[in-house]
Symmetry: D2
Subunit: 506 residues, 4 copies
């Protein structure tokens, strides 16, 4: 989604670094609908269900048969798209929307998607989930040829490639552009002819398709979304995934055409969608995310049992795995950590004893439950390890006599370059330490991660096929399924800072 | 907290009616600290932990030894009190804060607490949790005598009573004022001499006391708060509850004095704090709220078993009772309903099939889990019944073959006049229907509530002592522990509308 | 309008000190209308015409026969009262409005007028132009008796006096309150019975009365306003001034009753209204302000001729006097100083030669005209003298060979305590220096003020009757027509700081 | 400055139509400085002095030796660029700024100048005053070749032409771009090498050059601005005009180089700058604007005398001509119309007699002066005639017995396509009616315009040389000095609507 700026020599500085530094974040969710009355209102609901995939900004582009209409804003979907006034600005029966994290600094609104441009062929809107790993290389080329970029998002490269392609039809120009890309992309585009949805040849990021049934039983509006929960909220039926390397065209009459513009390849969807990103009530790569997470917890209980009194999830993402762990082990599942729903900004800290960490503002120990007990904590992953440490300490302060930690994913040892916000590698605990040092760092009595094969078993495979892995698991294995041109070129970012550092709008 | 306007003849129109109409809401949380560096920053954290008790507005008044400083705002604590600028406006080592729901319409800021006034004796700030049930009567008297009210909050009555009392000392004037009140009040006040915390003679609303230990082991700043979770977040130790009818004075040197200005009475704390209002990690009336809720679930499982495949909580407040029910019954606990964290405004609804209810924006069925299963849902209470109906339907749409409902409280049949937002009586499902009609209304296969004695057992009593009940349970029993003067007088509210209907500030 | 805080020992610290310190400012304008459809829209227009009397905040209270409606805001009338939404909040056929300067610091909105209170007798709104010179004394009394004040404005004292008066009717209570006041007040009040307009016994501040003729020739809505320009803009006919010491009641049927509640006294209207405050197109005390200003210029030309090439006004208030001076002297009137219309905030100054003073942002020399010429500048008054100095320098820098200064008022040597913003006395140039020192200070070749008798001649009198002056001219003569109790008591303001220093609303 | 959209068949719909429809407006002012500490603060002051040339939006781009910094906002310069925070965002010793009118609708900020782009050669900022009359033609070409436009401003065409030029140096590419343009442009550009200022071959729009002298007498920072008043405010000395067809380069060391990239042509500066746009204290085309306006008034008095009692200017732009008319005729100059400084939004109109027009909110008759008098009104121009009509009526209502109108410009009969906001031709009163019909329309007793030769005499010429006019006077004569390609092509605007109609940012 944004260009990688490598200004640290050997180590890779990831574009989406997390200020707190201790969680992984999906950058984007996309949603599109064609053939619905009030398409923008449908899209707003769909984006709301995808809010967990990006909370910093949101945008919708609608088309009313004549004109495109654009509205974008910082903040949650509900803040920007819940009013009648907002919807009145977005008339039409086709709309595409996007939720995202903003990059740090600068005037994010230039980069808020969907991006829109008037090409010679007419209006073109694009919403992107993923990351183009040769975007800087392509961009540098385009600028040399006179292209003027509006923002820093890698997605804009796609528009310029389409605009400057010499092929006659828009679809040809679009495919011409896609063939130059490497990396991960699930795209929803709109032109005045209709909607195009496509997934990169490996299908790294998710994209599903459904339709809103009409009262008379006819197959109504067609819907595309990052996750099935966005179909649920708008009352749409889940039809199927957009397949890896597939490009689906839907015209204004609802006619659906599937294209296969790429050389066939085995798909490699992101396995981390199961572990963390997707909502538990979504169906991802044909699996119930909730069931997969419970199964991971069961695998963990089999692989790494613990002699304890209570199984305690780190809320909220650790809950399904903890239920699985408890059911498999027979140890009671209890809420030993209570999560506040009112998290947001960092507070000014009092200067004396009353200080409170970001962890303690989000989580509080259920002291009456935990006191005097041996517990096992279940969490989804460890990134930098600082949160795990604070939570272990919180449990000990509340009187837990033993604190064991079980993690529902293998050790996260590598950065993601396909649209997931991971810290640079040397900040990842598992890249810096072996298992015992990690355990010591987080001050747990024991520490275990689910094995890579255990994870594959939880998603229904017998094992990881190392020759041809069924999923993208590069964050665990370092096995990146595409070339990483920008990274390889280690381009000096100062030559490529394409926009001024400061742009504020009063 | 606000005056009751009775404009419906026989039925009582509750001041805090809920727009959605199907939940009960605590109106307020209070917090105070004296003797802390950066008292306002401590208070902001404390209020943040009490955010579940009131999300519409917040305020803090600090005192720096010379001057009082006031800052109030609509919205969450974090939105108003997280910045350095905000804290810089609130210097001093003593502060009192408040979170609240706003009344509908009007310029809420006049009513946002703590209220502050300059009396002849100096500055006086007051934060109130509860409801004065003779406030309109007292107010009418005061206005006749020339008092000019700024807002509509019942709390302002207390200030005017203090201001016009003829006793010589402020403490005497304050007690003189309290003796005229009926109803529920947990108050934290500040004057330039120090802090006063007190609870009404029955101790209906909670109030706890603690202190922030200093590095050298000395007993540091004294803290008062509605719940113990607010002590936890600021690193304070829980000392004890402020007792029913107790008034505690803390002077600027930290000296603590307890007074007993009222005729002794048995305490009657609100039992609904256990069922719903308090956070599960709080200690309320000496009990762990989480444990009580689990115990209610266990009582429910004993009293009303269900032959089902899964125990499913209605998130989030039904979770502890569901864990108790599952443990007692041996039926697996599973997350069959997934809750979105991004709830807020109501969206404009698309005009066709893609409509989405407020329930479906907040909750989504975990279809893969529920399909083909017999389930029991555990919820904390039923108010109007509309939410229960939608959730039962959602489960059936997701393929559940049987849907049983168990409620972790007795039927809510009466309005609360002590600071809890309940709809008027004729809107309460349990006041309108018998058990079978209720079951039919919510379309469940079976429906059961915990018994009143089961509830008392869950809080550690053998039974409810009907002659002298240990708790205020008026919402279940109609047994109101105080006079309800304003209600009895059925005063015509048009004579008493003390402020213009519209006040907007541009 | 606001309390005087005296914290400088001997010198009087005026409540409305001007940050720039070099102009006098009227604090307020008032407007009321009864019997008009859309009374608030009429009032908004009227206030807009009075905007020069107060630019910091504005407010309107309307009454629709049942309810009072209040809207107040910081900024200009057009910013707060030009939209349909704003007007929809203010229904009814009676309205009263106010424009004002805010006091420095603090949450001005508490003090923005009209003030409104619900008294035992019903709603009461009041708009005030003037200053009560015993407000602190009265307020201190009221607080001792238990009154709780909302703001710091002296106007609030009047409401409390009305609320606590023991007389049976509202009119009696209102007169009872007025009799306790000393100082200057032109008031417009509304109750549900109708409108009351009154002027203090000396009629220090202006107040005029008119009516909006109806299509059928009937005498329609009755209007009160600070100046006749507010009648002009709403299409009202000017009937007469409200007389000194007169109280006019207009009931909801349009019946007008005049009362004379005070001992008869000779009126002493503020003569400075002619010199500076009123708009030149207003009729003040029976005189055209424009004609009076021209006449002052003519007097000046007679008393203090100058052998020059050009007569140049200091824009904009010096223009009419300059026209008079030019016509009398036969020297051409020319625009030697061009005023920017886009004045407002202070800019950050560049650190090098490019600095620009507040004077040069507001005024620029017309160099091509002035170069090589002898000029006389005509200004309305000299307060601190700093602006005069900068303007003289600007003319010299532009090449003027001689710069003479003539002032269209006598030397301003005393502070005003009747609602005009003057600096404390020791800041007034004319209180600090004799004529020659002043001339030297402003670096003019010559300096002259109109004589006090010249000023009286310009307003149509033969001379000032020193035994019984026809006008309040205390700022020139120190002859204050009322007692100044608060000033005499030199009350320690720290005991009376009736509200916290800081109140911010997020 | 913006593209012309022709959607009215034969008549030309001007891009900058005025909502009120009855004034002409300059669209832009530009300012640049190189070599000054705090260049942005200098630029903010300069723009403030040019505020009369564009009040809707403002922007500044600065360069600190390494990076460009951009800040733009809607509203006045003072609202956006007066704070220290704003200036801190704009570090560096070179800056360029712009004030403008926004086009109706749409998200103006995309179009607010200076525009900025990162070209292959580095950062490039451009501020433009004028209008490119073949912009749509060029834009259409560029889009066909794959260029993606951000906004609708014609200025953006220039950037794309520079970006896609094949010449080796930036200066060559810039000249290559300019040679494709037709129309009016005064440009200030910045690159990391320095500043470029240039004027179109006819010098239609103004541009002056000056420098800020340093303390040690060295020639300091170089300044460019639309008018000399912007030099005055920053303490700069006026050096000379940038000549028609001249391109001036200033490098970071202050070296100034003049280029002549175009075929030599006689200059044709806009004569309307004298009549209306420029501030009277500016020097335009070597003439004092104030003196020229007075001279026009004198010509008018000679050509069209009136037997009246008073000469009354229509404020403010009619004042200098009225002074000239009065001096020539010997009739006294008087302020018969008082202008309010607090104009802005349109107010909601009361539904009854109290209505007030936009004219009466801005102007009020000085009735005491005018009553019973014969008057001549002096105004700068007549556009649609509606304002003139209202002002004549206002004078009659105030009692004037005869109202004559004299206009300080020839009849405005043609639209401007060089950066001045004129209504489409069929809205211009002088294009629709002959002299007598116009007089009747505005209800004056007589009406006269200055003759075209009279106007040329006022600017110091003997007459208009019709073969080779000394000025652009197309609005009076229809003699357009350049081709008008876009107009000639009458391109269907729907094909070229390059951006969505609606773009709102929350």
């Amino acid at each position: 989604m944004a260009l990688q700026h490598n200004d640290l020599g050997d180590t890779v500085h990831h574009p989406f670094h997390d200020e707190d530094g201790d969680s992984l974040r999906e950058e984007c969710g996309v949603f599109g609908v064609i053939g619905a009355r009030d398409a923008a209102a449908v899209t707003a609901l769909g984006l709301h269900a995808l809010q967990h995939r990006g909370q910093e900004a949101a945008g919708i582009v609608s088309f009313d048969g004549q004109e495109f209409h654009v509205r974008r804003g910082n903040g949650h979907v509900a803040e920007n798209f819940s009013t009648g006034e907002a919807m009145a600005e977005l008339p039409g029966s086709m709309a595409v929307g996007h939720v995202r994290y903003s990059t740090t600094g600068g005037s994010g609104l230039r980069n808020v998607q969907p991006l829109y441009a008037e090409l010679a062929s007419g209006g073109f809107a694009i919403a992107h989930n993923g990351n183009i790993s040769n975007a800087m290389h392509l961009r540098s080329d385009l600028v040399q040829r006179g292209a003027i970029f509006q923002g820093t998002a890698d997605t804009e490269v796609i528009i310029h490639l389409v605009a400057t392609s010499r092929y006659p039809t828009l679809l040809d120009r679009f495919v011409d552009a896609l063939r130059m890309l490497e990396g991960a992309y699930s795209l929803i585009c709109t032109t005045k002819e209709g909607m195009i949805a496509c997934r990169d040849p490996l299908g790294i990021r998710p994209l599903v398709m459904g339709h809103i049934p009409e009262a008379d039983g006819k197959k109504g509006a067609v819907v595309f979304a990052s996750e099935t929960v966005a179909l649920d909220i708008v009352g749409a039926t889940f039809d199927r995934e957009v397949e890896a390397g597939e490009l689906i065209e839907v015209d204004q009459d609802g006619k659906v055409t599937s294209h296969r513009p790429f050389v066939e390849a085995s798909s490699r969807p992101c396995i981390f969608e199961h572990v963390y990103f997707s909502r538990p009530d979504s169906i991802s790569a044909g699996q119930s995310v909730y069931s997969v997470r419970k199964a991971i917890g069961q695998q963990l209980a089999i692989e790494s049992p613990a002699d304890v009194d209570l199984v305690i999830p780190v809320p909220d993402s650790g809950v399904p795995a903890a239920i699985g762990y408890a059911q498999e082990s027979g140890v009671p599942f209890e809420l030993g950590i209570i999560r506040s729903h009112y998290v947001g900004r960092t507070f000014i800290q009092p200067s004396d004893g009353a200080r409170s960490s970001s962890v303690s503002r989000k989580h509080n120990a259920n002291r009456a439950l935990v006191e005097g007990k041996r517990i096992v904590l279940i969490d989804d992953s460890i990134v930098r390890g600082t949160t795990s440490l604070k939570i272990v300490q919180m449990m000990r302060n509340a009187g837990a006599t033993e604190v064991h930690m079980r993690i529902a994913s293998p050790p996260t040892m590598h950065s993601c370059f396909y649209g997931v916000d991971t810290p640079e590698r040397n900040k990842l605990l598992a890249a810096r330490m072996d298992m015992d040092a990690m355990r010591e760092f987080i001050q747990a009595d024991s520490l275990a991660f689910v094995s890579i094969d255990g994870l594959y078993r939880a998603v229904g495979e017998n094992e990881r096929k190392s020759k041809c892995p069924q999923y993208c698991d590069a964050c665990f294995t370092g096995d990146y399924p595409t070339r990483l041109t920008d990274l390889a070129e280690r381009t000096d970012p100062s030559q490529l800072s394409l926009l001024p550092k400061t742009e504020k709008v009063a």
